[in-house]
Symmetry: C2
Subunit: 690 residues, 2 copies
Amino acid sequence: MKFILSAGLVLLFTFTAGADEGMWLFNQPPRVLLRERHQFDVTDAWLEHLQKSSVRFGSGGSGSFVSADGLLISNHHVAADALQKVSSREKNYLRDGFLARTLAEEIKCLDLEVNVLESIEDVTARINAAIPADAAPAAAFAARRQAIAAVEKESLERTGLRSDVVTLWQGGAYHLHRFKRYTDVRIVFAPEAQIAAFGGDAENFEFPRHCLDVCLFRVYENGQPVRLKHFLRFSATGAAAGELTFVSGHPGHTSRLLTVVELQSHRDAGLPFRLNQLKRSEVLLGNWSALNSENARRAKKSLNGTQNSRKALDGRLAGLLDPELMGAKARAEAELKAQFAAKPEAAAALAAYDQIAAATKTLQAQAIRHSLLEGGGGFSSDSFGIARTLLRAAAERPKPNGDRLREFSDSGKASLELALFSAKPIYPDLELLTLTDALTFMTGQLGTSDPLVQQILAGKSPRARAAELLTGTQVRDVAFRRRLYEGGAGAVAAANDPLIELARLVDGEARALRKVAEEQGEIKHQAHAAIARARNTVRGTAGYPDATFTLRLAFGKVEGFTTAGQTVPPWTTYGTLYEREREMQSRPPFDLPPLWEKRRSQLNQKTPFNFISTADIIGGNSGSPVVNRAGEFVGIIFDGNLESLPWDYAYSDREGRAVSVHSAAILESLKQVYGAKVLAQELLTGRRGS
Amino acid sequence: MKFILSAGLVLLFTFTAGADEGMWLFNQPPRVLLRERHQFDVTDAWLEHLQKSSVRFGSGGSGSFVSADGLLISNHHVAADALQKVSSREKNYLRDGFLARTLAEEIKCLDLEVNVLESIEDVTARINAAIPADAAPAAAFAARRQAIAAVEKESLERTGLRSDVVTLWQGGAYHLHRFKRYTDVRIVFAPEAQIAAFGGDAENFEFPRHCLDVCLFRVYENGQPVRLKHFLRFSATGAAAGELTFVSGHPGHTSRLLTVVELQSHRDAGLPFRLNQLKRSEVLLGNWSALNSENARRAKKSLNGTQNSRKALDGRLAGLLDPELMGAKARAEAELKAQFAAKPEAAAALAAYDQIAAATKTLQAQAIRHSLLEGGGGFSSDSFGIARTLLRAAAERPKPNGDRLREFSDSGKASLELALFSAKPIYPDLELLTLTDALTFMTGQLGTSDPLVQQILAGKSPRARAAELLTGTQVRDVAFRRRLYEGGAGAVAAANDPLIELARLVDGEARALRKVAEEQGEIKHQAHAAIARARNTVRGTAGYPDATFTLRLAFGKVEGFTTAGQTVPPWTTYGTLYEREREMQSRPPFDLPPLWEKRRSQLNQKTPFNFISTADIIGGNSGSPVVNRAGEFVGIIFDGNLESLPWDYAYSDREGRAVSVHSAAILESLKQVYGAKVLAQELLTGRRGS
């Protein structure tokens, strides 16, 4: 897991043609870089087709359309949220998989929203023009919020498209993204969890790897499969060694442009705290799951997510604790500051570092309280989330659109209501487990003598209090939610629901913490904008902004790597899958589904299964299509290796790699294991057969 | 897990005949209580026989002799340390079990020491007389240490017996315990881990339960099985429902006599910190174990121990967070203070509460640094422990006996050397894992800017530094250890071993932290002694002191309990074992060993397997014999239920129960499953057959 990244860091600030770095904006693609490094000319039509074939999952993750009849492919682990929600004690789709033989058999997801990016508009000037010069941070934040809400609402009303203003370069730019919104999404095919995540958490972030981490959905409109112009042609041969490939997806978050002080805060405070929470949660859910298979089913998605985050963040922290990485960051920042110092017009950028440092200090001082009270870490449960949404919706909706908390703006109303009125199952036993633990954790963090903690616990033990709250609340009843949401503040107060009243008790301080976070965030946005402007002047190019769960283009070659003297080839095959199973004596999580044992002889053992490339990705890219120069689907991203984890802070292609499922493996398994010939045919032809 | 303990708390301070509470000293047994409550007269001969049949494990835990030929029974989980150390990649005794058919086949433990308590002498007056009146805490501590060392050394030289002065009632009394020491201990029988810990961590601290948590050793002297006068006769019928039973063992630690301020410190600081460490460690070891079976084997004992501690401490913290428990504690303390206030001669006891509060504050302020640097939590690895022992032995051994750190006193020399020169396997890969993690954790706790942390890491990442230290050190070589230990400070310095030099780097601050802990400990000892004296005056009886890993007598009835309206019977049987296996579909940890599947029909399904009683026990009691009025072995303690976890702070027989393996189950499985008829015969007759 040694991570050398001097090379990556230099590239981060220069963008020479030396590495396949970058999560590029579709409206600012790396045309020159691709031409010079890979002799590839990006055309507008190629870009538009890829953009409109790419899909964002509201639940987190990416995907792409792969047939004209609305077939949508993503990862099994991206689909886990949807599979978990439609499962029951009797039908465990997340564990056992699913195949619809007909349209009628496809299973409608309960609350899944997917988005397709239709257009991007740079609205930086308009947003910034709304901020009065010399406005105090609070006023500036309010003005910016109003401007953003106005742009979004105007766009929604004019186009009918979901309209989000996204912040790029930590405040350096504001782009309006317009999305086609789909909410009728149905599950077509999911493999068994055993093969989707063969090797489980043990092999997560590892390579070599053997996972059929895919899931197929179909998107509907007006009760019919949607008819699409833009979708990716499936390549039967798939990616080849050394081939240039592209990744179009939604990397969730990176921290590459943060200042050294901000990174230190991640290293010394943010990551240790979060890892403490995650490991605690992993132990809690893991042990509860071990009690019986129904517990395991109920907690499965949360446990997987927790383990994944824990492993990712452990890797990131290891990166930040590596003096090589932090040393390179410090040197690069010193160099940039020296360049700024030489230019009088960059004075604001120089001063910006101190402003960021001060804001970071203020934020760090309240970070734990913020995470527990406003972030909800003190109340981990779906029920509390719903209770608070009901409380706040009642308070926010009567306000003018631009004055509301962002999640209650008019432009986000449809998505908010889809989530709030979801009929997803909520399990009181699991809620009791997590809420008790969260209250215990909060008490440990804030202290038993904290007045708010004492009010929250109301003289009871965490477990007794959690039981009382969850027994008394009605928020698990969707009709109750609708009644309160529509009834407004009066109905909410009259319900006298204990969980909503708890949310109310906490709301004063939670909002105060959020206000500080917003003001300090505004200071940071302005400061980072100043640095971005000066940096662009010095460099002569903007490069790409940090990831923000917006559509990005990455590229890279299919290529192995060498670590600790060992050469890791870029491929695995079905043959090596069975070898690995034997080597691990089929012990979970290295056991195969019965069907995979049974159909083994029918599978071409030479079929490429998983492969790696140098494409620059991160969490959120899961499910991103990998396409070749012709724009054909040759694979699907599902992971990065351990060595890629510090990519949050800096890219390096020395050992870091993106990990994908090969398109040929998908076709082969559909045909030979699952007998899903109709579906395989749809992938090959781009049209659904009858 | 609801825990009501008003009843228990009242008892704690009155010792009426209302409950089976108490971990009684063998030299102050509860004669009156047993006569009044259970119509049982404790005779001196009965007591002596039980005392001298009881065995303490140096590695932690209890046991008892069960034949005149040195057969020693304890729990599989107490034996885990010994089983782990004699196992290898080829032979996994901890997982697969073991049976010696002949004496020659018995496996000698690598570094196991067991002790039998031969005599107890109250030396309180002598120790306290050595402390000058009005001595400052540091001087008082030094004088006390000297007095204790002198008493121990004198006793060792006079009797040849291991001689330990133990502190009771938090400083209220000092007793000299003399032990017969055995270091040639051989493994005779261990069941498979699957049946020893059926249900694994999931069912740990639960009841109903189905564990054959036993292990048989034989103790040797001069190469021959030891011939014993005192051993427990094995009862073939075992414990019956409602029967009065006794437990003779070594409860490790309780906190029942702590002041409210001390309990608050546990609740608010000590337990949350320790749980953070434990959960982190559980995630680390669990995930590493999942990578392959050899990893799992290497980490097994540590992982089990970590899970066990985590579950126990979660339960204790839940107890302290229950306002009912803390409220009762506060009321009891207030009542006692009021009684003291009414007696002028108890003025010192009243003042003692403030002294304890001040000392607790001082200790809490340095607790994390102390735990990481002096406690070794920042360097978790066997290698570091050895390195520091070598460093400190060289510094301490030239000093007068009474001036040394306690672990280097003459009376403890033999035990220290047994551990230091143990040929137990140390795995560099596991050491790298835990040392890297510990350095990372310490960095998060103390901060990257801490000067000592920076010196410890020496400009490297935790992983790189750990790798460098473990590659460079020679402490895994026993001959190297001997050479340095015998060579003294000069040899240690000349070796220039990186891990020893790290221990040296840390030693200044570690010793300073320890000095503060010792001084504040002395203040607490004197203050608690004052409270104990006044309490005895007020009460008219001393009761029993908190557990300190010294031999104690507990008693209780075999009895079920009622929780949440459900009645839990006091028994399980082999029949319910197989039912539970079927119910859980044989999924690990609910799978049975192949032999148990094969021999199922030969086992009498009605054989009682595990049972519960109201005896007052805690961790350290594992392996304690359960005997009947006649002093016969009717079972063996291996656990308490979840409801017993807050017994650390207060006993209650409402739902809390001790959990034991029934003697009949042990005999039945030896005969019917393992074909160990000779061994079963030895248990029944008390003599080894030919």
